[in-house]
Amino acid sequence: MIETFGRRGKAAIRYILRTPKLLLGLVLLAALLALGLVGPQFVDVENARPISVPTNQAPSAEYPLGTDSGGRDVLAVIIVGTPQTLRMGLLAGVVGVLLGTSLGLIAGYFGGRIDMAISTLTDTMLTIPPLAILLVVAASVRTMSVENMALIIALLSWMFPARTIRAQVLSLREQPYVHMARLAGLSDLRIIFEEIMPNILPLAAASFVGATSGAILAGIGLEVLGMGPQRTPTLGMTIYWAQLYSALIRGLWWWWLPPIIVLIVLFVGLFLVSAAMDEFVNPRLRKTG
C-alpha cells in the first residue's frame, strides 16, 4: 500500500515537473502560503491593527511597504490578510465542491424526477449573478466573519461542479463494469462509492480549483465594496480603505499596490493550476496549449 503511494507520488512529481504551467502555478501559490506562514517571524503582525504605527509613511527600512492613513503597517496587513483570503477561498471551495459533487452524483445516478429537480435548480442558480445575492445578504448581515462569508459564498458556488459531475456520472452509469456491479447485487450506495466515485475524483479536484478561485473572486469583490469581514484585516478591505481615503490621488501607492499584486499572483497561480488540471482531465486540450 505504502509502496504504491510512493510510486504514485513519484509519478505525480514527475508530471508536475514536466508541466511548466502546473509547476509555475504551484510555485506562485506556495510563495503566498509561505508569506503567511513565515512572515509573522519577521514582522510584528500586531501592527496590522489601526493606530499602531505612524500614518502615511513611505516605504523605509522599518516599514518595508510603508504605512496607511489608519496607522497600519501595510506589510503586516498583507501578511495577516493573505492567509485569511486563502482560508476563505479553500473553505468555500471545499464546501461548494462537496455540495456540488453530491448533488451531481445523485442527479446523474438516479435520474428521472430527482435529476430533473436538481438540474432545474442548478440551471436557475447559474443564471443568478452571485454578487447580487451576496450583496443583499451582506447588507442584511451586520457583522461578517471570514467563516460566514466563506459559507455564504459556498452556497453560491456548487453549480458548476454539480453540472460537470452530473454529466460525467450520466456516462459512467452506463459503463459495463457498473452494469456488472448492479447485476452482482451491489447496493446503490456501494456502486456510487466504490465504482463511480474513484472515476470522478480527478474531475472533482479540477472543479475544486475553479470553485476556490471563483469564491476568492466573489469574496474580494465583496471586501472591495466594504461588505467583507470587519474584524480581520483582509486584502480586499485594504483596497476599500485605500479607495475611501483617496490613496491613489494622494500618491500613496504603497497602500493599494501591494494587495493588488498579491491578488494578481494569487489569481494567476490558481488560473495556471486550473488550466493544467483541465488538460490533465481532458487530454485533448493538451496539444493546442
Binding site: D123, T124, A132, L135, L217, L225, I249, F267
Partner: protein, 332 residues
C-alpha cells in the same frame, strides 16, 4: 416539440424571476435587527427632532407606510406583485424618489460603457482567437497568447486601479474618474461626447484587456473543431483563396457559439459593472448600488440586485429563443 421547448424556457424565466424576488423578500427578514430601527437610530444620531411624537408612534407610522404591519404572507404576495410590476419601492435615503427611477437614470451610463467595451472585446477577441487556430497565421499571433491568458485571470477592477494610477495620476493623459468633467452640462454636442469618450477610455481599456483572452480562447476552441470539417477540405481542394476560406467558411461557422456567449455576457453587463464603476466613480448602476450599500438603503440594494438578476434572466431567455433559429440542429 418546438412549443414544448419554448414553454419550458419561458417557465424557467419566471422561476428565476420569482426566486430572485423571493430571496429579496426572505433574506433581509432573516437577518437580526430591522430597517425601521436602523432608520430611527440614524435619525437619533443626527439629533433629529421627533416633533412631539413618541418613538412608538413613529415606528408604527413607518411600519404602516412600508406595509410591515400586515401578516407575513400578505406582505409576501404584495411584494411579489409589486416587484413583478417593476415597482421596486421607495429609496430610503432619497425619499420620495422611487428605486426604479434612480435605476433608469443610471442605466444608460452602464449600458454605454460596458456594452460597448464588451462588443469591442468580443470582436477583437474572436478574430484573434480564430487566427490562433489558423495554421497559416503569422507566427507572432501565438506569442501574445500567454499574455492575454494571464490577463484574463486578473479581476478587471484591480487592473483598472493600476491603469488609473499610470495614465491618470502619473502621466495625466486621461481623467481620474467620473463620466464627464464636473462643471459641464450633459448636452448632445461634440465637446461633451468627446469628454465622455475620454472618461470612458480607462474603464473600457481595463475591461478589454481582461476579457479579450476569454473570447480568444473560446473562439480558438471552436475554430479547431471547424477546421477539421469536411467542407473546409473541400473549400481548399476547390482552390478558394485563403482569405475567403478563413472568413466565409471557418470563422463564420465558428462564431455561432460565440454569439450565444456574447448575448449572455451582455446580460451580465449590469452586474459586472458594480466594481468597475466604484473604482472609476462612474455614475451607472454599480455606483448606485455601492452608494445604497454605504447608506444602508435596503430597498435600493434589493431593487438593484433584483434588476441585475432580471437582466441576466432576460438575456438568457432571448438566447434560448433565438438559438434554434440560428442553428436549426438544436431543437429539443
Amino acid at each position: 416539440m418546438k412549443h414544448a421547448y419554448l414553454i419550458r424556457r419561458v417557465v424557467m424565466f419566471f422561476v428565476v424571476v420569482i426566486l430572485a424576488a423571493t430571496l429579496n423578500f426572505i433574506i433581509p427578514r432573516l437577518a437580526p435587527g430591522d430597517p425601521i430601527g436602523a432608520v430611527l437610530e440614524e435619525l437619533r444620531a443626527r439629533g433629529a427632532s421627533t416633533g412631539g411624537d413618541s418613538e412608538d408612534e413613529i415606528v408604527a407610522a413607518y411600519r404602516a407606510r412600508f406595509g410591515l404591519d400586515k401578516p407575513i404572507h400578505i406582505q409576501y404576495f404584495s411584494f411579489l406583485a409589486n416587484t413583478l410590476r417593476f415597482d421596486l419601492g421607495y429609496s430610503i435615503s432619497y425619499y420620495p424618489q422611487k428605486v426604479e427611477a434612480a435605476l433608469l437614470r443610471s442605466l444608460p451610463w452602464t449600458v454605454g460603457l460596458l456594452a460597448i467595451s464588451t462588443v469591442i472585446s468580443f470582436a477583437f477577441g474572436s478574430f484573434f482567437g480564430a487566427l490562433m487556430a489558423w495554421p497559416r497565421a503569422p507566427a507572432t499571433v501565438n506569442r501574445f497568447v500567454p499574455f492575454f491568458m494571464v490577463l484574463s485571470a486578473v479581476p478587471y477592477y484591480l487592473l483598472g486601479l493600476i491603469l488609473v494610477y499610470i495614465f491618470a495620476f502619473v502621466l495625466r493623459w486621461l481623467p481620474l474618474g467620473g463620466a464627464y468633467s464636473s462643471g459641464t452640462v450633459p448636452e448632445m454636442d461634440l465637446d461633451f461626447i468627446l469628454d465622455v469618450i475620454r472618461h470612458g477610455m480607462l474603464p473600457a481599456l481595463s475591461i478589454l484587456l481582461t476579457s479579450v483572452g476569454f473570447w480568444a480562447l473560446g473562439m480558438r476552441g471552436v475554430m479547431v473543431t471547424v477546421l477539421g470539417e469536411d467542407y473546409l477540405t473541400l473549400a481548399e481542394a476547390k482552390g478558394l483563396p485563403d482569405r475567403r476560406i478563413f472568413f466565409a467558411y471557418a470563422m463564420r461557422n465558428a462564431l455561432l457559439p460565440q454569439v450565444t456567449s456574447l448575448a449572455i455576457a451582455l446580460g451580465t453587463v449590469a452586474s459586472g459593472s458594480v466594481l468597475v464603476e466604484v473604482i472609476f466613480n462612474y455614475p451607472g448602476v454599480g455606483w448606485l448600488l455601492y452608494n445604497a450599500l454605504r447608506s444602508s438603503d435596503y430597498y435600493m440594494v434589493q431593487g438593484v440586485a433584483f434588476f441585475l438578476i432580471l437582466t441576466v434572466a432576460v438575456s438568457v431567455l432571448i438566447v434560448d429563443v433565438i438559438y434554434p433559429l440560428l442553428d436549426p440542429r438544436i431543437e429539443r
